[in-house]
């Protein structure tokens, strides 16, 4: 299926080499893991990549948005009331309203 075939209202993103189409953004409090993907209101598809480090006997993976590394490592990505948050050895960070970085 090509993008030309899609409903214009679908949220379309990619994760780990696969295109994900969703009619709605992800429900609040869904987290990766155990979920594989979070779809935000812009159609950004979030997941954890393959690059990893170990902190406190747990893995942290690079955070991907539509397959692009956003420059953060995390154990968890959570979607809370429309905000993407990540958790790692540093604590919690939230994706900024400008959609450019985590603060």
């Amino acid at each position: 299926m090509g993008k030309a075939d899609d409903d214009a209202h679908l949220l379309i993103g990619s994760a780990l080499g696969t295109t994900y189409r969703r009619a709605n953004k992800t429900e609040t409090y869904v987290s990766v893991p155990p979920a594989l993907v979070i779809t935000d209101s812009d159609g950004g598809t979030w997941t954890l990549g393959f690059k990893r480090v170990i902190h406190n006997h747990q893995f942290e993976f690079n955070v991907l948005r539509n397959g692009v590394d956003v420059g953060e490592m995390a154990k968890l990505i959570e979607y809370t009331k429309g905000v993407v948050k990540i958790f790692g050895h540093y604590g919690w960070k939230s994706f900024s309203r400008s959609r450019r970085h985590f603060i």
Binding site: L16, T18, P34
Partner: protein, 166 residues
């Protein structure tokens, strides 16, 4: 540490064939290299409605599933060596494959069961000390397996990242 991924193919996922083994990895017998599992994931590409799906990690002895041959891909781009496991359709020792068309009559043993919502997909990340390891020379292979066919068979994407333990 040499690391590989064994995944489904295609940007829009695959159609589940007649059986429900997604990945099958059988350690080699000829060389003493174990296979460790770092993480497992399953997702549905297409826009889907909410539904729960069971996913299991199993072991299976002969007769093995009939698979689509798939070669694991290097995660470390500079690694000049290929994986000890190669792609094949038979599930024999030292091979792996994806998307089984027949399950094979061999007995399966459950390692862990879990469930996920198809809208969100499933990612299992082991803590380092809890990684599953399939030993070299094992009589069994490891299945990533749906206990029942999903409601919609199309658009599935899945994979496992593994490493070799010499």
């Amino acid at each position: 540490m040499r690391e590989f991924v064994l995944t489904s193919t295609g940007v829009s996922g695959m159609t589940i064939l007649g059986a429900t083994t997604l990945n099958f990895i059988h350690p080699a017998t000829s060389v003493s290299i174990d296979i460790g599992f770092i993480r497992h994931w399953v997702g549905q590409s297409a826009n889907v409605t909410s539904d729960m799906q069971q996913i299991c990690l199993m072991t299976q002895v002969t007769a093995f599933p009939t698979l689509v041959s798939a070669t694991p891909r290097n995660l470390k781009m500079g690694d000049p060596n290929g994986p000890i496991i190669t792609g094949a359709t038979t599930g024999a020792a030292g091979t792996c494959g994806i998307n089984a068309s027949a399950e094979g009559a061999g007995a399966k043993t459950l390692i862990w069961p879990d469930q996920f919502n198809v809208v969100n997909g499933y990612l299992k990340v082991n803590t380092p000390e809890e990684r599953e390891v399939a030993p070299a020379g094992a009589a069994f292979g490891v299945n990533l397996w749906f206990s029942q066919p999903p409601l919609t068979l199309t658009g599935w994407a899945w994979g496992q990242s593994v490493y070799e333990i010499a």
